[in-house]
Symmetry: C2
Subunit: 293 residues, 2 copies
């Protein structure tokens, strides 16, 4: 890994929370000279310019990637096939492409298909960070500090490209972890995608109450935390859940089954069974989740 | 309401997070002279003494309530029938009893049955506050500040008893709200009891993974917040869910149905339907939950 890595031109396609925070972190680390942002929303790009997240906004993705050293695709995963297809003919031979998609098997398949000969320049990655807020206004340079960055290099991926992406994320403060794509999608289906389904469904269930406003008015911190991630971008999570539905459907089934077990205990008036369920959950949480950053 | 309310002897039965915080808040407000704590756990009572939550620990609940002005039953709701039966013969005629139970129909029925002639001295109540931590060590005097205190007085309840309990909770910084018992149980079944079932079930589902330790190791803030309340006391929540199961079972059914709707969209590859679900949840959360204390 180069001791002093310098990126002359970073292109961020999709200047949201992740792409914007990546740009800010690399600027703060003085690793990047110029950041060009590409996006669909004019107002979001203007916010990114105003906040110094990007130095230039560019509407045309083909023009944007000219002379790029590093390109981060931070758009929802459903848009990536199209983005790959459009940038492929314009990619400089030395440019490195990476992504921040929450699913990896579909993104890698799309990149293999649409980047074609440039596929070895692509380093699949997924930063495990985020908040329920989205857009350039939500970006901040410390977002990735001490967070995992999952790197999923493929057999074809150029070693130098992996080194550049690794160095960039290390400069953001992230910890690098390598995973296989299928393993990644199974793990994050369980710890991230399923919880989003759980939270969205709970809000929808309560919102159906005839006096939902009053109902929510009585809620406390428990409900608020449980459904915090139901504030996440519907488009982004639609894409993630659709891309990973092969892993997600059995997880939803398993979860419905867990609820059915609790329901059976309730209907039977079996307090001991219910307490056993609650105790095992509490112990698992204490063992594996408490005090994690 | 008396301008300067003084409680000579407060008895807290169950010196946990709620009972302990109530004692600390009244001490801080200089509204109480002496606090006697009763509980099953010797080590918890010793912690309460050490932290100044209580002034005396008493093993015998009958001895404890002698000369009491105010008695807060802060024990899990499943224990309340027995506690009411034991204190009924020993209650001073002027003593006021209140509770902090998360369900109200069952607690009121138990009080009516077991307190007998003393039932008019009982003021059913429920402070909407808590954390996932329990025990006297978790207590702090600000727990109830700006939180709702649900008051559920019955036709028989003495007006003076209601005034005392009201004044005590106001001194803790709580906002007083009156509800009917059935209404209370329906509302909190939805915004509190169901979310606990949801969180406990999600942890149990993930904990069944063959490599659960590694799985949880990859989780981020989303999962952590979603299942925070799975750290809550299994005994307390067993009692609450059992007491309120008539309201809770249909809520669990409705929630399973919401999950099934999402599952159908996933299986059908219907991204538009999924996005619609996520969007309506996000909007409901933004409208009703964001910026609430």
């Amino acid at each position: 890994m180069p001791a002093k890595l310098r990126i002359n031109k970073l292109v961020v396609i999709g200047v949201g929370l992740i792409g914007g925070s990546f740009a800010l972190a690399l600027k703060k680390a003085r690793m990047v000279k110029q950041v060009v942002g590409v996006g669909r929303s004019r107002s979001n790009l203007q916010a990114a310019l105003r906040r110094g997240v990007i130095d230039h906004a560019e509407k045309d993705v083909v023009r944007a990637v000219a002379d790029a050293d590093l390109i981060l695709v931070g758009a929802p995963v459903g848009q990536m096939p199209d983005i790959f297809a459009r940038i492929a003919p314009a990619l400089p031979p030395g440019a490195v492409i990476t992504d921040a998609g929450s699913t990896k098997q579909d993104v890698i398949a799309a990149a293999r298909q649409h980047l074609g000969a440039c596929f070895p320049q692509f380093v699949p990655a997924h930063p495990i960070a985020g908040t329920e807020n989205s857009g350039a206004n939500a970006a901040f340079p410390e977002l990735f500090r001490d967070r995992n960055l999952i790197l999923v290099p493929q057999p074809e991926t150029r070693a130098a490209a992996v080194r550049l992406v690794r160095a960039a994320w290390l400069a953001c403060g992230a910890r690098i972890v390598r995973l296989e794509a299928a393993e990644h999608d199974e793990i994050f289906g369980a710890v991230s995608h399923l919880p989003h389904i759980v939270a969205y469904a709970l809000v929808n269930q309560l919102a159906q109450h005839p006096d939902a406003r009053r109902l929510f008015g009585f809620s406390g911190g428990g409900l608020r935390d449980t459904v915090r991630i139901a504030g996440s971008s519907p488009e982004m999570w639609r894409d993630i859940c659709m891309a990973n539905r092969a892993a997600l459907v059995p997880l939803v089934d398993g979860y419905i089954n867990e609820l059915a077990v609790a329901r059976t205990a309730l209907v039977a008036g079996d307090g001991a069974a219910l307490e056993k369920l609650f105790t095992s959950a509490r112990q698992a949480r204490a063992r594996w989740l408490v005090k994690r950053g």
